[in-house]
């Protein structure tokens, strides 16, 4: 059965069968396409994506800190063996017990930052492929051996489809990013603040307690009646341990600073949510993320 062109017209997105556009219409369409592309090019979520990726990397250093809280307790127990006959593992069991909760808090933050980064991701390339396929189909569309569209019309249709796609998806991304950032800004501050307390106080005090245990060991070595080779080896080992503790304290300090930068970056997104893709916000976020890089390196060195 032969189906007439009229009945099939609604299926054709390219509105096949319409008469060729006039020269002025083509010109207008071309200007419109160029102008719309220029407008759409101003929206760049790249810095938002970069901020999210780096923040995620920074927060990854946290798992090393959480594990080291328990390890620090075990190391202390080497210097101060539990007096009640407990093994070091039993003595430090509570540090192990809080690990899942600590990791959950951080992974929730990390998942949020991943989703934020993906939503700000640039999927234009994959859309372009789809638009190219659409363009090819329009080009190859013929009726009675004659092409339905001339090359200008095909370009205009593909250009418009690409623009509308980008405008629609960018608008959608922006709206969803805006919604998440607005609703979660206070929560993010609360979580980063809490993690700062845990790392900046609780972990650092645990390291402090380990340091005290090592220093007490040094005092015991001083009291040893014979200053043998074993005592000298003990002294050197204690000095090395104290240096390790300092490195870990510095890494904890770096993590605190990255938490501040994560919160600051999110605050900047919150304050500039209406112009999230602008160059001004990009600059703020670049400054923020570039500060994070050396801090992340410092954390990776310690753990």
């Amino acid at each position: 059965m032969k189906v007439s062109a009229k009945t099939t017209r609604p299926i054709l997105v390219c509105r096949g069968g319409t008469p060729a556009l006039s020269t002025s219409s083509k010109l207008l369409l071309s200007i419109l396409v160029i102008a719309l592309f220029a407008l759409s090019a101003c929206l760049d979520f790249g810095p938002v994506r970069e901020y999210a990726a780096l923040s995620r990397q920074a927060s990854a250093g946290y798992s090393g800190i959480v594990e080291d809280m328990y390890q620090s307790c075990l190391r202390s127990a080497e210097y101060d063996p539990p007096s009640n006959g407990d093994t070091p593992e039993t003595h430090c069991a509570q540090w192990k017990a809080v690990q899942p909760g600590l990791l959950h808090a951080e992974s929730t933050l990390q998942d949020y930052l991943v989703a934020l980064g993906k939503l700000a991701g640039d999927d234009k390339v994959s859309y372009d492929k789809n638009v190219d396929a659409l363009k090819k189909e329009c080009e190859s569309l013929t009726v009675s051996g004659k092409p339905v569209f001339d090359s200008t019309q095909v370009d205009a249709v593909a250009g418009l489809a690409g623009f509308l796609l980008k405008a629609a998806t960018d608008g959608y991304r922006r709206r969803e990013l805006d919604r998440a950032i607005t609703a979660q800004n206070d929560n993010l501050k609360m979580v980063t603040g809490a993690l700062k307390g845990i790392v900046g106080h609780d972990y650092e005090t645990r390291l402090e307690n380990e340091e005290i245990a090592v220093e007490a060991f040094q005092v015991r070595l001083q009291r040893a009646p014979e200053q043998s080779l074993a005592v000298e080896i003990g002294r050197r080992e204690a000095r090395r341990r104290l240096l390790d503790i300092e490195t870990k304290k510095e890494a904890a300090g770096s993590y605190i600073k990255t938490l501040d930068l994560i919160a600051k970056g999110h605050q900047e997104l919150f304050e500039h949510k209406k112009d999230m893709g602008s160059k001004a916000v990009a600059k703020l976020l670049w400054d923020n993320t570039s500060e994070m890089v050396p801090l992340i390196h410092s954390m990776h060195k310690a753990f």
């Binding site: 949020y112 998440a180 929560n187 809490a194 005090t205």
Partner: protein
């Protein structure tokens, strides 16, 4: 009034400070008898254990306070992931439009074989 995470942190600091003072005392009094030294050193170890105990209480209290904000952040993450899935569907919509054009062209040219192929492509896009 229940103790807060900050209260526990303050206690931990005090016991940690006490332990440090004991180490300084031990270092500055080398003539302490072994018996006195061990008695004082056991106090230092007890102070460190108390400090650790309060640090863990501070962490547990902090985690308790985080339950609600973490749940809200998690909900927002889920919402963003739904939005991402919606964005992926945009690509599928264009593929559908493209497959629709194939079908339209096939119908206009009236070639049954081509119509069958185009319907196949359309179904393929819709089901993938």
């Amino acid at each position: 009034m229940p103790l807060t995470a900050d209260d526990f942190r303050s206690f931990a600091d005090q016991f940690s400070g006490l332990a440090r003072s004991i180490v300084a005392f031990e270092a500055n009094n080398p003539n302490l008898s072994d018996g006195d030294f061990h008695t004082i050193d056991r106090l230092r170890m007890a102070a460190l254990d108390y400090s650790d105990h309060f640090l863990i209480s501070a962490i547990q209290e902090t985690l308790k306070d985080l339950n609600a904000p973490l749940q809200q952040i998690s909900d927002a993450t889920n919402r963003m992931n739904v939005a991402l899935r919606n964005l992926k569907n945009v690509g599928k919509a264009i593929a559908l439009a493209t497959a629709g054009i194939q079908l339209g062209a096939a119908i206009m040219t009236g070639q049954l074989g081509a119509i069958g192929g185009a319907i196949g492509s359309l179904v393929n896009v819709m089901t993938n």
